[in-house]
Symmetry: C2
Subunit: 622 residues, 2 copies
């Protein structure tokens, strides 16, 4: 195992020769797509070419260590690796002609046949201005090293000729350093070459496959998969055979890199999402149910795998790298969850260091929102219906938007305005396509929509509020709806996404809670007090009806000015037909000037909000 943990070393029990192929009996199922101890989804490959087998032999099963293959190679006789313990299994066929490879995920051939790694290596870097354009440096370098019979695992010299970088076993590094420095003593003295630099603590991950040759963008896939997951690449090598792309990465990232690459190449359409859910209330709960209900279909039809690697609420948190079963996660959280605080939560999430990590914030927590910037910067994406960050201080909004624009991490909060309705995405398309917002008008509170849609002569205003509350349509204290603050936050988000630099204090809000009711110590006392103002609201309603108008609590953005106010609208207004608790958002733009673009539908409720969060999740998976 001198090659490090990557060897799931197998023993050979003998080779049986038959007419058309050599059978090699071992205690493994064949050549695996990756080290099963590091990549859970590793599977045995059905077919490999000699060349691929040789590339992989460097790491994986020693059964195909080249010498074993020599005779067969010459006669071009196929070799079959079989498992004595599992004789029924076909194992791996090592043949001559390049093959389409295999992939459980899709029929079209995969470009890679194996992802392998060397767990521990050191890098030795030799550089200096004196190396440029000077022939023979390489010879002297490798000559010096060869004296000590040291194996060089990887060599790269970028086109500048000004650095040559070698990967060797950690135990060899000091020898290599001194050999090099002896060889180039004079040049070093003359400052033409610097002392050899040794860096420890690296691993090499390699993607192997015959078909890589004919697939443009393979390297792009390798390094985006690594980059997306914040894996820094210290050195790279790919020979023109394009049979193998190797990347030197920090040892701590080896397993993450292997899994990211295994997903990328063997389950290319399978977008694995590692989701950490914070908040197990109504929305979080609904999301878990949807995840449970659609997990299978999502995987089969759209090849999206959403793995619930953590769940937390204000009291407890539970983390599992394998993923928690959605159906039991809440029970498990109660039983075996540990006490939760944001610091330890983020610490553990980061420690997992998993590809495609997404934090789903289904809380209304200000504290968590304050951490978005640092979360995004650590390559963890965020999906949230929580309005706090986007509607907080303008400076912070700008900072998180910038942090999110850094490659890798994404911040999506479509559900913070109009729940699952396509509001922010539509706005973004308009703006980006060079359209100009003339006016946004919107009913953004399902509660107030319901209240004013059901407020009529037959019922007092306080009565309507009372019923809405009883039906669970309002916040525990209806004043949290009636004060318009929630709507103000939403129009502020729309304004900012439209490009206006506004603070929450810039939004004019008509607070529907009558002055004297605001100090009422409890919700019940408030509702009692509200009765005194039924006349006032009746009067408003009557006056509206006299002009065949109806009352509507509308948020608007015009000339960069954001307002939230109770208005009376007539039949020609697009919101006149609004009913139930629907939200409606109307975009009047330079291009949609005579008739606006309107989106309408349920803008609240755990089910549709969770669905919108789900859609954002999938959008990130791409």
């Amino acid at each position: 195992m001198g090659r490090g943990g990557s060897d799931y070393s197998a023993s050979i029990f003998g080779a049986a020769l038959n007419a058309d192929e050599i059978e090699i009996w071992t205690d493994v199922d064949g050549v695996m797509s990756a080290d099963p101890r590091k990549v859970k989804k590793a599977f045995p490959q059905a077919r490999l070419t000699y060349e691929e087998a040789m590339e992989l032999s460097h790491f994986g099963a020693k059964v195909i260590f080249p010498p074993t293959m020599q005779p067969a190679l010459e006669k071009r006789i196929p070799i079959r690796i079989r498992n004595t313990v599992n004789p029924g299994f076909e194992g791996t066929l090592i043949h001559c002609a390049p093959d389409s490879g295999s992939s459980p995920a899709r029929s079209r051939p995969t470009v890679a046949t194996g992802i392998s790694s060397i767990e521990k290596i050191s890098l030795v870097r030799v550089e200096g201005s004196g190396m440029v354009g000077v022939a023979g440096i390489a010879m002297r370098l490798f000559g010096a090293i060869a004296q000590a019979q040291i194996n060089i695992i990887l060599i790269t010299q970028a086109s500048s000729e000004h650095t040559i970088c070698l990967a060797v076993r950690p135990e060899d590094a000091p020898t290599v350093k001194s050999l090099v420095e002896d060889e180039f003593a004079l040049e070093i003295q003359a400052k033409l070459i610097n002392d050899a630099l040794v860096e420890d603590g690296f691993s090499i991950v390699s993607v192997v496959g015959e078909n890589m040759r004919s697939s443009p963008g393979t390297a792009g896939r390798v390094f985006s998969a690594l980059g997306k997951n914040g894996v820094n690449v210290a050195a790279i090598a790919q020979g023109s055979s394009e049979l193998n792309i190797s990347a030197v990465v920090p040892q701590g990232d080896e397993v993450k890199a292997l899994n990211a690459l295994h997903e990328e190449f063997f389950f290319p359409d399978n977008k694995l999402i590692n989701m950490f859910l914070v908040g197990t209330g109504l929305i979080g709960g609904a999301l878990i149910k949807q995840l449970q209900a659609h997990y299978k279909k999502l995987k089969e039809c759209y090849a999206h795998e959403v793995r619930l690697i953590g769940v937390a609420n204000s009291r407890r948190m539970l983390v599992s790298e394998e993923g928690l079963p959605p159906e039991d996660c809440l029970a498990l959280l109660e039983q075996s969850g540990e006490p939760c605080n944001i610091d330890s939560l983020l610490k553990q999430f980061r420690a997992l260091n998993l590809p495609n990590s997404i934090l789903v914030d289904c809380t209304a927590s200000e504290d968590l929102a304050k951490r978005y910037e640092e979360i995004l910067k650590s390559s963890i994406s965020i999906v949230t219906p929580n309005k706090k960050a986007q509607s907080g201080a303008l400076d912070y909004y700008t900072r998180i938007k910038r942090a999110a624009s850094h490659r890798g991490a994404v911040l999506l909060f479509e559900t913070s305005v109009g729940a699952g309705l396509p509001v922010l995405s539509t706005l973004n398309d308009l703006i980006k396509s060079g359209d100009e917002i003339v006016r946004i008008e919107a009913v953004l509170s399902g509660t107030l929509s319901f209240i004013f849609n059901s407020f009529g002569p037959e019922q007092s205003f306080s009565g309507v509020v009372q019923n809405a509350r009883a039906a669970g349509y309002t916040e525990p204290d209806p004043r949290d709806d009636l004060n318009g603050l929630d709507v103000a936050r939403k129009i502020l988000i729309l304004a900012r996404e439209s490009g206006f630099k506004l603070e929450l204090s810039d939004v004019e809000v008509e607070n529907l809670v009558p002055e004297p009711c605001r100090l009422a110590p409890s919700a019940d006392e408030f509702l009692t007090k509200l009765k005194d103002f039924d006349g006032h609201f009746d009067e408003l309603r009557r006056r509206a009806e006299e002009q065949n108008a109806k009352l509507c609590y509308i948020a608007s953005l015009e000339h960069g000015r954001a307002r939230v106010a109770l208005q009376s609208i007539t039949a020609d207004h697009p919101f006149f037909g609004l009913s139930g608790s629907d939200n409606i958002i109307s975009f009047t733009t330079k291009r949609y000037h005579t008739r606006p673009l309107v989106v309408r539908g349920p803008g609240a409720g755990a089910e549709v909000t969770a669905a919108g969060v789900f859609a954002d999740l999938i959008r990130i998976a791409g």
Copy 2:
């Protein structure tokens, strides 16, 4: 210039020494971000470190050829490259400490300080099973080569140790081959090592920068930029200094690669789109106007640069790699356009071989639609309001969707249903997030919407159609609207995007053109004949009104069954309030079950359709 065309070689006119920095006077403005002859947007760098300068010196201005820098390097004295012809200009400062780099596009530091290339190189590949785990091979290899004093430009040996790949000047390749084969004659005979393989016709492109070290994902950016543009990478090297990532690419792709990388690193937020517009009718014309009007703002505010590299209509085509001025492109097309046919058009577009190429199909051409698959396969994306391909044979629809799912190319046709309204994107979010379509109901023809919204007792049906036609709301022959085929195509697209495998013939269509009118030889004769059926339509209208209903031509999808029919709807139906020529699309899903998600607005018209095309363009730019 032995190094090939990459040298914008400069001459040194002398070095002036002053207290704190050495000034080197040349005939260039300093060290450029790239070879200005190959990258139009190349700009002089304000600051470079010694190391960066050395990396770049390998290619660019010889003013910083290392020997020149030696003395300064030792004393750590900054060097300033200045231009005698442009003495006012500050030039490039070469200093010791790593720097934040510079970028005209944004304030945050760039990771790269230069993109350079070597135009002509050959690859020599030495491989064989006998090389694995055998020490000293490298020494013998480089020893042999060194005899001939040959410069090795790039070396890579992937971790398998089973291939060593060298880049050398083409003229040196044969020598290297024979030297290697002499050295390893015995191993070659013993089949332990194969004959050295020489491959010509390659270039090396390199990205250089101190900050690359500290930026995860840099390699990902390099190779995605190349991969996205269909540039195949033959060999890769990056030393652990991470100061330089080099990729060996086909010589024909050198300039494309340089530009793609220059955009990626110096204008990272600047998404350059190379757009080829086919079809200069109403929509194409509007798109050109929008492009012209918003070009500047788009670039400044959203850093999207849409370059119109080609424009064509059924008669003429005009191509310009520099980009055509939108305001004049139609005039230019008439004056200097060459005769156009689809083959030559696609041939020229492919020949340009530009990054982020997008074909915008604003025609209704069946022939062009038939070419989508091959276009997508050559890494060219497609944006189109043209329905032909998506609503053609199911097999072809499946094939283009698959071709588009290949990395690099994208196919967007949001505007083929509901013009600029967010219909297909919304549907996609619903489906992907695991929601299930229960029912889609939609009014998808602005023309028919207008006709039935204005059809009342005061006017005969044929009269309404007559007026609609006079107002330009209908096709030249209104039967092309009334036969419902266009609507059928749209609901078919919605059905397919919902996952139902339907053919156009599976859609039940109620043709509103009365049987006897269908054969009328001209549109006018049809309108005359239609009068005979005013009674029939009046009757339908009256019957509807008796039940307080109104007529509405609705496309629907339910239980995988697509229908287009004239229905009478009552006030409780969400479409009852529809007015003008608006489209409306209502999604009833498992999650939006009690109340549907509704999108409404103008679903036709050149302006909003072009805007939707624009949005799709930007969406591809990302």
